[in-house]
């Protein structure tokens, strides 16, 4: 795909994409440090290498759309517009966090941005996406629902049930499979009898395609086209984005299941390297532009860390609040 075919790709927009990816990368790298320093605890799943997917897809969404992701969702939350401060405070378990510090890394929510998590059960968010789309349909709302999930989730029964329900009821859902070829330590071919993932959508007569998830432009272009289709036909679609997780599955993972060489190879194809090279080659980005963006991202991260460090903890007295809604009409 050449830039000429992409009406949206002017310099300004390219820099937005780059900036968003850099923000995520800087955020994730800082999280890894904070984890080593025991400031972030529990499970931490980083998005390094997959940034182009959240950033690319999110370009076509409006405030009316609902977004759902997995436990590996910092990138999606950032790209959806949650403030870095509220996310970082959440990771540090502070009451200023987007969930008052209750959710942590795997459960970022922001109802005002229609960002419905952050789900730590593989496949668990898919039925919710179907329901959010159903609510739109029944209310004749303008929104669609987009859910992101790993290729590992496709083995779960909930994937199958959700795809069928969305297709059967003609609901505006975009299913985005982030195929990073591993589910924890299980390689795709060890978990799926059919590794060509787009063929699976045929079981639901759902349109499907695959895109290079390392190429933010390709992702954005595909998502734009598909989302426009979903909006106009009010029917769901499936998008596989092929990518790679450049870090461990979580911070506990010794990565016995893949070689360093394999990781290094993919690093060279990472979405930041490839996009930066391309923009420089096209003459729309200078090294200084890049360094400025990177520095800005890092500064934003440092501000978020400071904010989070200074933020208060939730009061223990509030432990039982919101188990049930406080005000019943």
């Amino acid at each position: 795909m050449t830039e000429a075919q992409l009406p949206f790709l002017d310099r300004e927009h390219a820099l937005v994409l780059l900036k968003e990816m850099l923000r995520i990368r800087a955020f994730e790298d800082r999280c890894a440090e904070l984890y080593s320093a025991s400031k972030i605890r529990g499970f931490l799943h980083l998005y390094n290498g997959e940034e182009a997917i959240a950033v690319g897809v999110m370009q076509s969404l409006t405030a009316a759309d609902a977004v759902l992701a997995t436990y590996r969702e910092h990138g999606h939350a950032l790209a959806r517009g949650l403030s870095m401060r509220s996310i970082m405070a959440e990771l540090l378990g502070k009451v200023s966090g987007c969930c008052r510090g209750r959710g942590g890394s795997m459960h970022l929510f922001d109802a005002s941005r229609r960002f419905y998590g952050g789900n730590a059960i593989v496949g668990g968010g898919l039925p919710l996406a179907v329901g959010l789309a159903l609510a739109e349909k029944l209310q004749k709302g303008p929104g669609i629902a987009v859910c992101f999930f790993g290729e590992g989730a496709m083995a779960e029964g909930e994937f199958h049930e959700s795809m069928n329900l969305a297709a059967l009821w003609r609901l505006p859902v975009l299913f985005v499979c982030e195929n990073n070829y591993y589910a924890m330590g299980t390689a795709l071919a060890r978990s799926e009898a059919q590794i060509d993932l787009v063929t699976k959508a045929a079981s639901y007569a759902m349109p499907a395609e695959s895109v290079d998830g390392m190429d933010v432009i390709a992702v954005e272009a595909a998502a734009r086209r598909i989302i426009a289709g979903i909006r106009s036909t009010q029917t769901p679609a499936f998008l596989e984005a092929r990518t790679y997780r450049l870090r461990a599955h979580s911070m506990y993972d010794p990565q016995l299941y893949r070689s360093k060489d394999e990781v290094r190879e993919w690093e060279q194809r990472g979405p930041l390297i490839s996009f930066t090279t391309r923009l420089k080659g096209a003459g729309v980005l200078t090294e200084k532009d890049f360094q400025d963006l990177k520095a800005a991202a890092e500064a934003e991260v440092e501000d978020a860390v400071r904010f989070a460090e200074d933020a208060p903890l939730e009061s223990v007295e509030d432990l039982t609040r919101f188990v049930y809604t406080e005000v019943r009409p």
Partner: protein, 333 residues
């Protein structure tokens, strides 16, 4: 909803339908979905006619996909609707338990109060119809273990008609368990159905000598036992819990402080079930008022057998209730 439930003689089944109809009429955000709720008319004929009246958008037949359509109910609730999801029977709800526990019950607290889930899930429960082990579970008490859920068990015609409206008004996920054995129950639907209180237990029969604590279809076994006991000059108070979570312990603790004796009757299995919880609340809150150990009459701890005599032997019976009371009051009054 006041005035929207017609009054007069009816059945538990029709009362349940009237509750659904009133809810659908009252609020355009309400819709019903589940297996065979539409064309088939509901596997217990509860939703018969609703498809014709409200159309396919609001009365939605689902595929056999319990996890997805329960999860879709949660999503639709997040999205501003007021879904009523029917799981045909509690037996199939196990397939949706991840959605119920990890999403419906959890999202509000975990999101710091941002995302409430105003969802109602109805399901039929209970044994006694010779449908054998996989179709005879009574798991409502088991569900009452889960924080974040509200659990209702309508035992009467007014309750089955009237609990739905306040359940739908409640911003929390509410599970309503209708007992399969009650659908043919006949009786009057009264104006009280328009103002059902889903927070409190009800004293269905006052008494001074012993408190029978129960819910669901076992209510009728307790009332029958109370009648028999009255002939022996033992006056049993019968409490219908109605809401299994949050449990209205104040009502039964107060009662037992008066009667000093309690028998809990629960169609669920005995171990680590609701009956144990009620007993422990009494121990914790009324220990020094108890004249005798609290007794439990529960279902035997077996998968429910098909053969009628075996099934009946497994379930709580009027005789076992009377015998449990007799054990507490060996010399009558």
């Amino acid at each position: 909803m006041s005035g929207e439930l017609g009054v007069g003689m009816t059945t538990y089944r029709d009362a349940a339908r009237q509750g659904l109809r009133a809810a659908l009429l009252a609020d355009p955000r309400v819709f019903l979905m589940g297996e065979d709720v539409g064309k088939y008319g509901g596997c217990f004929a509860v939703s018969k006619g609703l498809l014709q009246e409200f159309g396919e958008e609001r009365i939605r037949d689902t595929p056999l996909s319990e996890s997805a359509f329960v999860g879709a109910g949660i999503g639709a609730a997040l999205g501003g609707m007021r879904p009523i999801v029917e799981i045909m029977t509690v037996n199939f709800s196990l397939l949706a338990l991840d959605q119920i526990l990890n999403n419906a019950a959890t999202l509000s607290h975990m999101s710091g109060g941002q995302c409430s889930v105003p969802l109602v899930i109805r399901m039929a429960t209970g044994a006694g119809r010779q449908v054998a082990a996989q179709h005879s579970h009574s798991l409502e008490g088991w569900y009452s273990h889960i924080p974040g859920l509200r659990i209702l068990a309508p035992a009467t015609i007014d309750d089955v008609a009237g609990m739905l409206a306040p359940a739908l008004k409640c911003p929390d996920p509410v599970l309503i368990f209708e007992h399969m054995g009650l659908y043919n129950l006949e009786g009057p639907l009264t104006a009280a159905a328009d103002h059902v209180d889903i927070d409190h237990a009800a004293i269905r029969r006052p008494g001074r000598d012993v408190t029978l604590i129960t819910y669901g279809a076992s209510l009728y076994k307790c009332l029958e036992a109370a009648t028999i006991l009255a002939q022996q000059n033992i006056e049993a108070e019968v409490i219908d819990l109605r809401t299994l979570r949050p449990l209205d312990d104040a009502t039964f603790v107060e009662s037992v402080k008066r009667t000093h004796r309690a028998v809990i009757v629960d169609e669920g299995w005995r171990s680590a079930g609701l009956a144990a919880e009620i007993g422990m609340r009494l121990v914790e809150q009324a220990f020094y008022d108890l004249d005798a150990p609290v007794q439990r009459v529960c279902t035997e701890e077996v998968p429910i057998p098909y053969a009628q005599h075996m099934e009946q032997a497994a379930l709580p019976s009027v005789e076992r209730i009377v015998a449990a009371v007799a054990g507490l009051l060996p010399h009558g009054r």
